[in-house]
C-alpha cells in the first residue's frame, strides 16, 4: 500500500504514527482517507472551504503533485507521499507591523476611500522606500507630493545650494532659502507637509563610487537629474540592482517620462545607447525651461511611483510619454528592451558602474576651473582693454532674447547659429574676443573661427556672468 509520511508536528493528530499506510488510487483519495481516519488532521491540511491549504505541498516520491495531476495524481503501492509546507517571509520594514494611527487615517482619508488604494494601498505607501535623485525642478513636485501621499521613507540626493534662478520652478524652495542647501530647504518643506515621513539626506553628488550603496535600500528610484552622466549612472545602477527607474526630462516647453528597468521592460540605454555629443543638447541652464513644465513632468513621475508602490493601474513601462506644452498634447512612443543592450540585454557587457563623465565626454562638474585655459581671456583683462581704448571686436554669440536681458557695452551680436554665414562681417586681421553667457558656446565659436582662418581670437572665460561678478555688478545675471 502507498505510504504517507506524517510531518512531526502532525503526528499527535495521527495516533503518534510517523507514517500511515492507506489504500487509494490517487493522492486526493489517500489524503481524504487519512483525514477521515484522523479528523483532527483535516483541519491542518484543508481550509474550511475543503481545499488543501495554500502552504501545503504534497510530493509523490520526489515530485510535487502540482507538476503532476495535482490531487488526481495516481499513486501505486510502492509510492511514498510526503507533506511539506511552503515557507517564506522576511523583514520588509518594521513599519509593516504598524498600522495607521487615527491621525494618519484622517490625513489619508481621501486615499482610503478609493477602493483601488484603500488601507492596503496606504500601508504599502507607508512601507515604501523611494529615492529621489535631485531636489530641483522635477524633484520639487516629486518630493512635495510623495511626502504628502504618505510614502513612508524618502531619500533625497543633492549637493546644490538654492539660487535665485531656481525659484521660477523649484517650488519646494522659498525666496528666503536662497543660499541654503537644497537638502535643508526641501526636507524642511516635506516635514512641514507630512511629519510621518522618514527622510534620508544624501548631501553628495551621486557618483559611480557611492551610487550602489545609496540606491540599494530603496524600492524605487526617481531620476530628477539634469545631466547625461548622472542619467546613465542612475540607469545602470538601477539595472544592476534590479530597481525601477522612474525617468523624466524637460527642455523649454517639452518633457518626457517613462519607467525604465521594470520587470523586463527597457532601460535608458535601450532608448539612448550612446550619449549625445557634448554640448549638442543644451541643459535647462543653457536653453531655458518653462517653469511650470517640471511641475507637470515631475507629477507624472510621482504618479508612476505611487502606481508601482500600490500595484494599481498600468505602469508607464515600454512607453515613452512625450508632452508638448505649447500644443498641449501628449503623445506616446513604444519602447522595447534591446536584447543587445550593454546593460539590460541578454548578454550584458556593463556589469559594474563605469566613469560616466568619460562616457559622456564631459568634464566633471563641481570643480572650479583651475585658472585660464589657453586662448581664454579673463573679464578683468577685457575691462582693462576697453578702458585703454584698444582696438578689437567683442562678439556676443548668445541669442537675441538673451542680448535683450543684458549685454557688455560695445559688443556685436552674432548668435552662434549664424556665425558660419556672417564671418564676412569680421576682419580677420583684427583681434576678436568672443563671449556668451558662461563661456561654453563662445568656446565653440572660437574653435570655429580659428578653423576659418581667424588667428587672433580669444574666449571670454566665464562669459557675461563672470563680467557681472567681477567687473560690473549692475549687469543682471540670468
Amino acid at each position: 500500500m502507498p505510504k504517507i509520511l506524517i510531518p512531526t508536528p502532525l503526528r499527535q493528530y495521527a495516533g503518534n504514527q510517523s507514517e500511515v499506510e492507506l489504500s487509494g488510487g490517487t493522492v486526493g483519495e489517500l489524503l481524504d482517507a487519512l483525514s477521515r481516519q484522523h479528523a483532527e488532521l483535516r483541519r491542518h491540511l484543508y481550509s474550511d472551504q475543503g481545499k488543501l491549504r495554500s502552504f501545503v505541498n504534497v510530493y509523490v516520491n520526489d515530485e510535487d503533485i502540482r507538476h503532476l495531476a495535482k490531487e488526481a495524481t495516481p499513486v501505486s503501492a510502492q509510492d511514498t507521499i510526503s507533506i511539506v509546507p511552503s515557507i517564506a517571509g522576511g523583514a520588509t520594514a518594521p513599519a509593516e507591523t504598524a498600522t495607521l494611527s487615527k491621525e494618519e487615517i484622517l490625513r489619508y482619508s481621501r486615499h482610503l476611500i478609493i477602493p483601488e488604494i484603500g488601507m492596503e494601498g496606504q500601508l504599502k505607501l507607508k512601507q515604501a522606500k523611494v529615492l529621489l535623485i535631485g531636489a530641483g525642478g522635477l524633484g520639487s513636485p516629486l518630493a512635495l507630493y510623495l511626502a504628502a501621499a504618505g510614502v513612508g521613507r524618502i531619500g533625497l540626493v543633492d549637493f546644490d545650494v538654492v539660487d535665485f534662478t531656481n525659484l521660477q520652478r523649484q517650488v519646494i524652495h522659498a525666496t528666503a532659502d536662497v543660499g541654503r542647501k537644497k537638502l535643508d530647504s526641501a526636507i524642511e518643506s516635506m516635514s512641514a507637509i507630512n511629519p510621518h515621513v522618514t527622510l534620508d539626506r544624501f548631501d553628495t553628488a551621486l557618483t559611480s563610487e557611492n551610487a550602489l550603496e545609496i540606491l540599494k535600500d530603496y524600492d524605487i528610484v526617481v531620476d530628477g537629474t539634469d545631466n547625461f552622466p548622472t542619467r546613465y549612472l542612475v540607469n545602470d545602477a538601477c539595472v544592476l540592482l534590479g530597481k525601477p527607474n522612474v525617468y523624466g526630462s524637460i527642455f523649454r516647453f517639452e518633457g518626457q517620462a517613462t519607467v525604465f528597468a521594470y520587470r523586463g521592460g527597457p532601460c535608458y540605454r535601450c532608448l539612448y545607447p550612446e550619449p549625445p555629443p557634448p554640448g549638442l543638447v543644451p541643459s535647462c541652464a543653457e536653453g531655458g525651461v518653462l517653469g511650470i513644465l517640471p511641475g507637470l513632468i515631475g507629477l507624472v513621475q510621482a504618479t508612476e511611483a505611487v502606481k508601482l508602490i500600490t500595484g494599481i493601474g498600468e505602469p508607464l513601462v515600454g512607453r515613452l510619454l512625450l508632452y508638448d506644452a505649447l500644443a498641449m498634447r501628449f503623445r506616446e512612443l513604444k519602447l522595447r528592451r534591446d536584447p543587445e543592450c550593454p546593460v539590460c540585454g541578454d548578454h550584458p557587457t556593463v556589469r559594474e558602474l563605469i566613469d560616466y563623465h568619460q562616457f559622456c565626454g564631459v568634464p566633471r562638474g563641481g570643480q572650479a576651473p583651475a585658472g585660464l585655459k589657453e586662448g581664454e581671456m579673463d573679464v578683468t583683462e577685457l575691462k582693462v582693454k576697453i578702458d585703454r581704448g584698444d582696438r578689437f571686436i567683442l562678439v556676443d554669440v548668445r541669442e537675441p532674447h538673451e542680448f535683450q536681458i543684458c549685454s557688455i557695452p560695445g559688443s556685436v551680436l552674432i548668435p552662434l547659429g549664424e556665425l558660419s554665414k556672417r564671418t564676412g562681417e569680421l576682419n580677420p586681421a583684427s583681434e576678436i574676443v568672443v563671449h556668451c553667457k558662461s563661456g561654453g558656446r563662445s568656446a565653440r565659436a572660437v574653435e570655429f573661427l580659428k578653423k576659418s582662418g581667424f588667428e587672433n581670437v580669444s574666449n571670454l572665460a566665464g562669459g557675461i556672468l563672470a563680467w557681472s561678478d567681477k567687473v560690473d555688478p549692475r549687469v543682471p545675471k540670468y
Binding site: V84, I87, A88, G89, G90, A91, T92
Partner: protein, 118 residues
C-alpha cells in the same frame, strides 16, 4: 532546525531561493525542506522549526512571515546587527495564519550546540 521534543540540536542552512533582494525576503524550496525532513527521519530527529534572519532589523514576526508560515513549526527570527547576532525570538502561528503567538526561547551552552554545514 532539527531536534527532539522542542530542543534544537542541528541547524541546517538552506539556500534562500527568493528572486530579488535577499536581505529583506526569504523563500525555502519545498524540496529542500523535504530533504531536511528526510534527513531528520534518518537521524531519528524531528524537524521542529524554521529560522531566518532579519538583517539590521528587529526580530519581529512580520506580516510577510505570518502569511507564508504554517502552524506546524516554530519560527525563530534572528536579528543580526552589522553582521553579528543581536537577539532572537520564536513564534508559533495559528492554523489560519492570522496570529502568531510568541514562544519561550532558551539558549543552551553554545559549546554543546552543533551547526551542520551542508
Amino acid at each position: 532546525m532539527l531536534g527532539v521534543s522542542g530542543v534544537a540540536s542541528i541547524a541546517v542552512p538552506l539556500e534562500n531561493s527568493y528572486h530579488g533582494s535577499q536581505t529583506d525576503r526569504y523563500e525555502i524550496r519545498p524540496e529542500d525542506l523535504l530533504a531536511v525532513d528526510r534527513q531528520a527521519r534518518r537521524e531519528g530527529l524531528e524537524l521542529i522549526g524554521i529560522y531566518h534572519s532579519h538583517p539590521d532589523c528587529d526580530a519581529y514576526f512580520s506580516v510577510t512571515d505570518l502569511k507564508n508560515s504554517c502552524a506546524w513549526y516554530s519560527f525563530v527570527v534572528v536579528s543580526i546587527r552589522e553582521g553579528r547576532f543581536d537577539h532572537a525570538k520564536s513564534f508559533r502561528p495559528n492554523a489560519d495564519q492570522t496570529v502568531a503567538e510568541p514562544e519561550d526561547l532558551a539558549y543552551p551552552d553554545l559549546e554543546e550546540s552543533a551547526c551542520q554545514r551542508s
